[in-house]
Every structure is written in structure tokens, then in C-alpha cells.
Symmetry: D2
């Protein structure tokens, strides 16, 4: 992870500002011969697209992706396939209402990157947060689609929201199919109703709410990852924490493991039909930095959207004290749209781990 690039063999570089002409990514190191067209990438972008419900930003961005390089359709191939060269994916910005932001040009919105970008760079594109905008995550989702092709169909990556504000789902109610039935990716039908009420209130009051996202990958074989600094969980933690508004990452039992005894935490093993079978998954599918063959389970804490209508105390670029209200079209709970983003990051980290694993080990 270096500036705007992450990954080692499967490498993703993203670019673009919220209110520039476009944004995009370069995916480098992708294996050749994988089916890839714009429609496949688009299917994931559509999950993250703004304006799909009243609980997300009302900015109207079709987020149509173009594939500018790295694929080729030949007579020998059945549709475009990757060629092993860099894949350039671009999404044009359409609905930039830059005027909405003119008044915060010189005012630092608390919780945003306004102040820190100015401190670092001395100049910043303040329109929509510029580079620090969550629009950047569209590029991650596009890259994640490519990563899924690298992983193949055996590895299934899914995500859900497990907490919004103080309201946590009941894990007993977990039903993956349910995530498609509500606008929150909520796997607990009862909780989805609670969230609807809660977020409507939040939205109407101009406030915002935090959330916890959980993503899982099943089908990952044992042994992926590279100790001791390229550990799979270390890579996942870095990748997830790079998502806008992320403030915490945990694997498996995570922070709860701190309260466990060694006996409670032990993922005991027995022989199953296909080899080793674990009796629990407190480790979240990673032990010693390497995948165990169990589901990889990662949770990410997303802070409430910093853009709120309530006045908050702040300062200007010139050191004057002011009160700031952030108008514009914001997500009342940015954690919702973080689901496809966290899925994408999980896919990218695993794709990179797969390639590095077979680089060192040979298969």
C-alpha cells in the first residue's frame, strides 16, 4: 500500500476527484485469459451507486464504467478476455454540483479531511472533498470486479451491515438472502425494520449514523498469506482501514477475543470428509497470518458521515472561528454503501494473496 496503489502482484492504482471530469483505476498484474467486460464490472458498481434509496446520497451518478485497456476480443475468444496487461477502468463524473461546496472552500468541516489536506498540501480541491471523497471508492469496486474473476467462482465474497448506530443485528437471525430484501444489506429481517425507522429519523434531523460492516469469503484454501508483515489479516486490516470513514477492523472474534480465555478462543480441530474440520472460527479464517480454509471473516467500523446539517464549531483556513453546516447530498449512513466497497477490498486482497501464494509455492 503506497500512496494510491495497493497490492503486490495484483496491483490497483486509483485516481480522480469527486468533482473532476472522471475517476478510475488501473489494475495491473491480472492473469490473462479471464472473461471481463464492462457489464460484469458494472454489476458491482450498481450495488454502490448513489441514489438507489432514500438512505444514501441523492447525487445522480450513473457510474457507467468504460474498459479502456487490458482486454481483447479475438476470434479465438468468446467475448473480451484479459490480456495480462494493465486494465484501465474509467467512470465519468456527471452530476457535479460544485456550487454546493463554495461556502466550505475556506471552512474546515469537522471530521473531514479539509484541515489535514490543507496542512499537508497547502492546496486542495475542496469541491465535494476532492480526492478524499467517498466517490473514490467506485474505483475500488471496479477493481474488485476484476479481482473476483481472478478468484473464480469457488470463492464467494459477500457482505452485510451488522450494526447501524447503536442497533446491532442478532447473529441468530442471519440470512444472507435477506440482504437483498432491504436497502441496508441487512441479514436480519427484524433489524432491517428497526434501522428503517432509525435512519429515517436520522435523515430528517440532518444527522448521520455509524455502522459496522461484515464481509466474508468462503472457499479460500488454506495457506494464503505471507508472514510476518504480509500476513493475510495484516493486509486485510490495512485495506479495510483505507476505506473512507473506517475507524476499526477486526478478524473473526476480533475485540471480543480479548475477553476470552484460551479455552474459549481455541478453534479445535477434527477430521471431516474433506480434511481438517474446525469446530469454531474465532480466528476468522486466519491463523499465523495464513488462511485456515475456513471462511475469512472481517468487520469494519464506519464512523457516522461527517457531513451533517447541525452546526458544529470549526475554524477557517485563515484561523477564524466559525460554525459549519454541511449542505449537499450526503449519505445519512455511509456504512451502507461501504458494503460493496469492503467486499471489493476483500476480493482484491485475496486475489493478490492467491497470485503471491502460487508465485512462492508454485500452485
Amino acid at each position: 500500500m503506497s500512496h494510491n496503489t495497493f497490492g503486490h502482484l495484483f496491483r490497483v492504482t486509483t485516481w480522480g476527484e469527486s468533482h473532476g471530469p472522471a475517476l478510475g483505476c488501473i489494475v495491473d498484474g491480472c492473469p490473462p485469459g479471464l472473461a471481463l467486460d464492462a457489464a460484469f464490472v458494472q454489476s458491482f458498481l450498481d450495488k454502490r451507486r448513489p441514489g438507489t434509496s432514500r438512505f444514501v446520497t441523492q447525487r445522480k451518478e450513473p457510474d457507467q464504467v468504460k474498459v479502456l485497456s487490458g482486454v481483447f476480443e479475438d476470434d479465438r475468444t468468446d467475448g473480451p478476455v484479459t490480456t495480462g496487461t494493465p486494465i484501465s477502468l474509467m467512470i465519468e463524473n456527471v452530476d457535479q454540483r460544485s456550487k454546493d461546496y463554495s461556502e466550505i472552500r475556506d471552512r474546515y468541516r469537522p471530521g473531514h479531511a479539509d484541515y489535514t489536506y490543507d496542512q499537508k498540501y497547502g492546496v486542495r480541491d475542496y469541491r465535494g472533498g476532492g480526492r478524499s471523497s467517498a466517490r473514490e471508492t467506485a474505483a475500488r469496486v471496479a477493481a474488485g470486479a476484476v479481482a473476483r474473476r481472478v478468484l473464480g467462482d469457488e470463492i464467494v465474497i459477500r457482505g452485510a451491515v451488522v450494526q447501524i448506530g447503536p442497533h446491532m443485528i442478532d447473529p441468530e437471525n442471519w440470512d444472507w438472502d435477506e440482504t437483498a430484501n432491504n436497502p441496508f444489506w441487512c441479514p436480519d429481517a427484524d433489524m432491517a425494520k428497526v434501522w428503517e425507522t432509525f435512519l429515517d429519523e436520522t435523515r430528517k434531523s440532518g444527522s448521520s449514523a455509524g455502522a459496522i460492516v461484515e464481509v466474508q469469503a468462503s472457499g479460500v484454501p488454506a495457506g494464503w498469506g505471507a508472514p510476518v508483515y504480509g500476513k493475510l489479516d495484516s493486509e486485510l486490516a490495512g485495506a479495510m482501514m483505507s476505506i473512507n470513514a473506517a475507524k476499526g477492523v477486526e478478524i473473526g472474534a476480533g475485540f471480543a477475543a480479548a475477553g476470552f480465555s484460551g479455552e474459549e478462543n481455541a478453534d479445535e480441530m477434527r477430521m471431516g470428509n474433506d480434511g481438517v474440520r474446525f469446530l469454531s472460527n474465532n480466528n476468522g479464517g486466519v491463523a499465523g497470518g495464513l488462511s485456515t480454509g475456513q471462511d475469512v471473516v472481517v468487520r469494519v467500523a464506519i464512523k457516522p458521515t461527517s457531513s451533517i446539517l447541525t452546526e458544529t464549531r470549526s475554524v477557517t483556513r485563515d484561523g477564524e472561528e466559525v460554525d459549519v453546516r454541511t449542505k449537499g447530498r450526503h449519505d445519512p449512513c455511509v456504512g451502507i454503501r461501504a458494503v460493496p466497497v469492503a467486499e471489493a477490498m476483500l476480493a482484491c486482497v485475496l486475489a493478490d494473496a492467491k497470485l503471491r501464494h502460487r508465485g512462492q509455492i508454485g500452485s
Copy 2:
């Protein structure tokens, strides 16, 4: 972070197994002219050394560090200084009781890396966990000492244990001086007594306990970090999650922020004597991936030591079901010795951020 190296300009590569002849690290990219001798490095290693109390492993390792390269003492200098070339630090292993481990040669200890290393590599040094042993963290602590020299005295890095098992400190009681008065790095004198009783029971029963470590850096100027994938918090998350037994990382309010409203979470700003003053630090000193100038605050969840005397169900290398007890000399709560390690990782990440910042920005 790539295999056994981390950092970009300030780069640390570690090597060595628990029961090999030695372990160590190479610190590359260090600025020249910084005072550095073995005694300074040793002072940090002594904080992590085994055998200092009954609550840590009783393995007797003096952990004496040798500085093999990268420093030079000339007439022009007052003691050895760094030369800008790679600094090689080596610690010889002394007290390897390899026989203790012979019986687990073919048995996979639940929660350990035994199974995953075998799955990945097909061969493993099972003695004391080999490369996956927490002994590797001695090399991190040595590197962290160099990082502190890079950061200078204005940046103060400190750590504490804030939870052991289910027992959490009271933040109101926080007193940094107190961390030196008990064997737990506990900043809450009352809680230290609770932990003493709790860990004595844990230890006597052959069990183990998890913990949460908190590390802080004060004096970090605003603007360090490099969005969007080299974010300071992203680098910190990756670095901390690479510590043995870490299962979660959070910055500032962390997972608690998921339950906050936007108003509760906002770190409002006012002008202070030295520029901007924040009215809270939910962001943990990082916004938009860049340091804010506030204290950088990171917490790491450490799972209970996997080595316990209680029998746990497992399998052998050959697929036989067995029950495993892990004898040997283990930490009942490995989170305690994780404090100097997490401090070292924080120091290394910040030293790297400092060098990268001035690389791009110029000062």
C-alpha cells in the same frame, strides 16, 4: 508490507526462528547522523524481555542486541551515529529448550500457525513455533528503537494495557506513571490489582487470557500520511495486525464510533494558542488518512495465548485425531509483552510517514 519487510522509506526486514541460532532485523533508509548504540536499543528490548515477572514466559533470554552495521564512530562524532546505510541488529538465542516441542512436531496446536504453515510450506520448523513465534517481535522492538531516533524527542510514544480478559480499566483513572508500577503496563492502579488476582488464577489453571493494548503518540505534526492507500491509519492497522495474536485494530473511538451520531463523533475545532485546537479526539489523531496534530491513538486486541495446558481437540499431520496440551514456558497473557511491540510498530510507521512526508512535501 511484503513478506518480512515493512515500510517504504524507513524499511524494516526481520528474520529468525524461535529456536535458531539468532534473530534480527535490517533497518534500511534511516537518516544519517543520528546517535545510536547498542545500549539505547537494549533499553527497549529490556521492556519486552521474557522472565521479568511471573506473568510472562519464564524462558530465560537475555536478548542482548549487537549492532553489526550502519553506525560509525568517528573523531567527528560523539559516540556512534547512523551513516544512512542499512543497520543490522542481531540477537542471539540462548535458552532454546527444543525438546519441549518434540511431541508437538506432528500435532497441530489449535490457534497456532502449525496447521497453516504446514499447509502452505509443506515443511516447518516446529521448535517453539519457528518463524511464527512471538520471539520475532524482539526484532521489531529493536527496529522501533531506531525509529524513535528518527522521530526525535518531540514525539513521545507510550503504551499501556487497557483490558485483560473481561476486566477493563477505568479511563478516568488513567495515569501514565502508573504503568511503571505494575507488571502489566496498567495505567489504572486499581485495575492492576484485579488483574494480578485474575492472572494468577489464569496462570495456575494453565489457561490464558486476551488483552487490549493501547498505544499513543503525542507531538506528531498535522499532515503525515499519504492518501488513499498509504493512509496513516491504514498503515497503522496493517502494522498492528501483523503483531502475533492480534485480532483487531481501532483508531480513536474505533468500533464505538459505529454507535455514535454525527454530532457525537464530530471533533469540533477552535483556535488555541498554537493554532487549531480540537475539542475531542474521536478520530484518534487521523482524519482523511492524515495526522491531525492531536495524539495518535491506536488500540489492538490480542487474543489469549493459544498455548494452554488444558487438552484441546486437534489432529496430527497425518490426519489422526488427537488431544493436545501445550507444555513449555508460555505467557499466560501475551498481551502484556505486546505493549513494547505495539509501541515499536507505532514508532516505525510514524518514522516512515515522516520521511515520506518530507520526500513529497519538502520539510
Copy 3:
């Protein structure tokens, strides 16, 4: 240098195929506040553009660059300036005559990457050489323009052709101004005439010629570079050898130094008005991998264009023996257009060295 990215702090990633919709680059890690607009980048692209004389390819590509991100024009700034975020530069392909290439779809052109790409990837975009086309170098030239901004006006980077086919310039005649007076970047007016005749014959016969390009940077301060594997000359060698058709790189006296005695080769030193003055520059401005403060001098050997009209023996994808003639619009001497490319690579390597130097050293 990794796949399609090079540089450490000043990092360039390029993408695009010869006959795809566009090509471009992302320049990451650029310092903020540098004036940068499309016109400045364009001025360098125009030096490399096809169709400027009868001695280069007749493909008609305007090579108009768009700046898609990483710059911002604010009231506070006088024209667009870099913001420190990734700079995305894109050039659309206009004049793709893909049909010209249909017949070499299954035939391997000797000297081209056709065979090796097929061997590696199993699929390739054969149109115009796909990713292996020299069109990719347009992206390097665009990145080089940004690098020049990083270096500032004190560092002057210039290039020339010093040999075409067997005809070498006379160094005694070297006149930088002359390079603008002929279509070869030839600094020797007499030799330019010889080349004109020689290349006209080459061109008419459907053949091609090799060349040697020399690039120089003046104004580089002493101390840039990072021994021992990030040596300035090592970085330069890697960068130059990555240029299409490059087969050799030398610094200063280069291969001639192999024939020198120690006395002949020594760059003796005396004191000048501004500090140390060297009496010769056999080292080409680099000693011990670090810049000496003298001109950095690099020469690159460029093989003759592999696309020739003469039939050459080859094979098909299916293992049939065939004779191949390469129609299309090719450079009779690709070394000519390599001048702005080599200049760009020199600029990029130096910009990266500058940032890394001040990262480690502090100024």
C-alpha cells in the same frame, strides 16, 4: 519497477494498447503546488508525435493529452497547480488502422514481442503490437513533463541522437542548438546531412536502422541516489532499458571505460568557485551510485525497427514456417523518437531521486 509502474515516491503507472481507445498514465506522489496544465505536457508530447517528418512513422496521431485529475485551479492559484494527489493523463488513439495488422495476427514478426507475448499470456492484442507498441512511450513523455516540474528550472534535461546505423557524430562538433535544426535531434550539423541520405535510402528500401541516443541532465546536485540497489545509475539503467527496442545502456564513458587504465579513468578533482570541480566526467555524473554534481550522461542503444518490408523467415502461432513482411506505417529509425522518451525517463528517475533524497536526508 514492477509490471507497469516505476518509481518509488514519484511513481508512474502507464496503461493502454496501440489500437485501444486510449492510453495514459497516472503520476502519483507528485509534490503539491506545481504549475501544471495540459499545454505544458503537450509541448513534450509534440516532440515525440508521429508524422513530423518523413523519417518517422506516418501514422497521424494528434496525441492530445487530457489532464483528468490531480490538478486544481483555485482563486488562490495562478492557473492549475498539482494538489499532491494522483495525476491522470490520457491520450486518445485516433488513427488506428487495425486492418493493416490482420495478416500478422497469427504470424510472429521476428524481433517483435509477438512470440513472447503469446508464450507468456496465451492471448495478445496483435493490433499494432498491442501493449508492446512504442505508442506506450507517449505516456512516459507525459509523465516526464510532470517530472520536469518537480525538478524545477535549475535542472536542464536534453537529449540527442549520437549515432544512426554505422554513422557516429563527431563529439567535437557537438552543438545543442543544432538539435533543433534537423529532424534527427542531431547535435552535429555535418552528420545530420549524412544521416539524411542514409535514412532516405533505408526508408526507400523498406529497411530500418539502429541508433544511439544520449541524454544529459545538468544542475543535479551531489548526493542523489540510494546505494546499493537504488543507485542512481542502476535506476537509470533499468529505466532506459525499459524503452522499446533498447538493448544497451551506459553511463559516462560506459563501455569505453573497460579499455581505460585507472589513471585514464580517474575523474580528478580540484577546487572551483562553487566547491569541488572535476577535471573530467568519465563517471557520467555518478560515483558510488550517487550523483557527483556533474552532468549526468546516459547513452542508450536502440536496435533497428523490427518492422521491415524485407521478407524474414518466421513461424505462425500454429507452428507453420512462413515468411513475414511487415507492412504498416513504421519508423525507419525508431531511435529518433526515442530522444524525448529517454529524456522523460531521465526526468522521472531524477524526480524520484530528488524526493527520496530529501525523504531520507531532509532537504
Copy 4:
């Protein structure tokens, strides 16, 4: 290539100064299960060892290597094998006569890194050149031994000296076996005699001579390398130019190709018994940055040893003009001992290319 590390998946980090206690390397990313013991590594170090003839430095260094980590000998294995963890190799310095260098503490030896190190770092270990000493190359040779294990026996790497001073071998006389019969790695028996006379004179006069080294790898399959900045020839150029005293690198016909016509340069293809057969190898086994399956052929120009007894004009650290004679025990032609070093760099680059290739491609 970054500071003191090179390689991507097969990564080598070296450390140590000429007159420090030891030097060494860490080889990270090595595949597991490869036979590796100190004796195997030693066999390559012995080829580079000082004092083996009167034509190399008379410093007495046994250069005994210790393997400190990364290998394990288990009952299941027949001798130590690599475990996939970092391999730490260390060579202790024995014969440091530091007093020899006291007089050049403040004097800059022309052609050495003395001046540039001081300019960069402000402090330097002047004893024997410190980090810039060619002793560092012992660590490369040790790493190269590991690389050979990664490549296996099918890939044969060999080197020779093809020119010393102005005296070039006759390629017609090339006999690999001959390289073992003379102290120059000379493949031309007649030329070996010429060199003996020439170097005796050079040595007695206190002068030194340059050289050209050629290294070859046979058995490399087609397709290794990673366009466009990780090209195999680009990696080789960077690696070779990082060798002490290297001033030029060429692949295949190299600089001679600049004088060729397209017809002369074309490596035509026909079908052979095992697939494609090339009728020449001007490309030196690399086309489009990927291996062709032919022998990889690289030549490196090595400048004459800068340490000579003749007085040369120089300056002191304090800006006084002085004349410098370099006593000490130096190689009259450092190019000779560069052969095993260039072989090692070729092995390391290929090992890395092999791992990266199968990472992306899968086999």
C-alpha cells in the same frame, strides 16, 4: 530495487561495511523445500574470495558463510531445506586492516564514492570504503546461491571475462571449460596469456584495468519477465549496473545493434524439434521484455579499479587541494571478481522472474 533491497517476490536485502564486524543478506520469499546448506553457498563464495591469485586483492578473508535462519533439518528431510521464511546469511569480516585507510579519512579518492557519500550523508565509514566497498558483493553471491536452487538444475548460469583493458577475446575461441584453467575466467586460452602479461605490468606499475564481463543463462523458458517496466532486460540492466564499478550493460548484440540494419538484426525463426528455433540471438534471449527461450546474454562494463598508486589530484573534506595515492590491497582488475557477482545477479533476477511469472500465469 530500493535502497539495499532488490527483487519483488524473491527479495534480497544486504547489509554490512567493509571493516565492520560482518556483512550479510536476507533472502526473503524463497520457495520452501529446497535443499540448502552452508557448503552449497560457500562453493560460490569461494569463486569470489579474495587472495586466490596475484591478480586479485591480497586481503585474506575466508568468507565463511553462516546460515542463521530460514532452513530446517527435520527427520522428514534429507539435510536442511528452505522453509519459506527469510534466509539470513552472514559472513564475518576477519582481516580488516583499518589503519591502511586512516590517511584517506579526509581525502577524497577520485572515482570512489568518498565525495558523494560525504555530500549525501555528512558522515561516512571511510574504512575500506565502508558500505561502498566491493566486499558488499559477497552478500550478493551468497544470495545468488539460493537463487540457483530456485531455478533448479535445468537453468545453467555461467560467466566469463571477455575483455580486459583494450584486449578483447576472439569469440571464435570461446570454450567454457577454459574459464576454469586461468585466473581470469577467460574462455579464450590465447587471450588468457595476453591478459597475464598485461595485468602483471598493470599490477607492478600500481595501475589498474577495466574489463567486460559476460554472463549467460541457458534453459530459461519463454515468457519470463513483465512488461513494460518490469521487463526482464530492464531488471537485468538495473541489477547489473548496481554492481560496484559497472558503467554499462548490454543485452545480446547490445550497442552493436545500433549499427545494424533491420535485416541484420532480425532473429529469424524456424521450427525445430522442440518448437520454435531462432536462427540468431541478437536479442540476447529477450524480446519485448520477455524471455524468448534462447540463452539470456548480458555484458557488463567494469571500469578500472579507482584505487591506484599513481598520485591523482583531489581535494580534502575541508576543501584543500591534495594529491592522493591509494595504498591498501586492491584488485588490479576488479572485473575478474565481478564474474561470480554478475552470475549471482543474473540468478537472482531470474529467480524473481520465475516466481512472478508463475504468480501471474499459474505455472
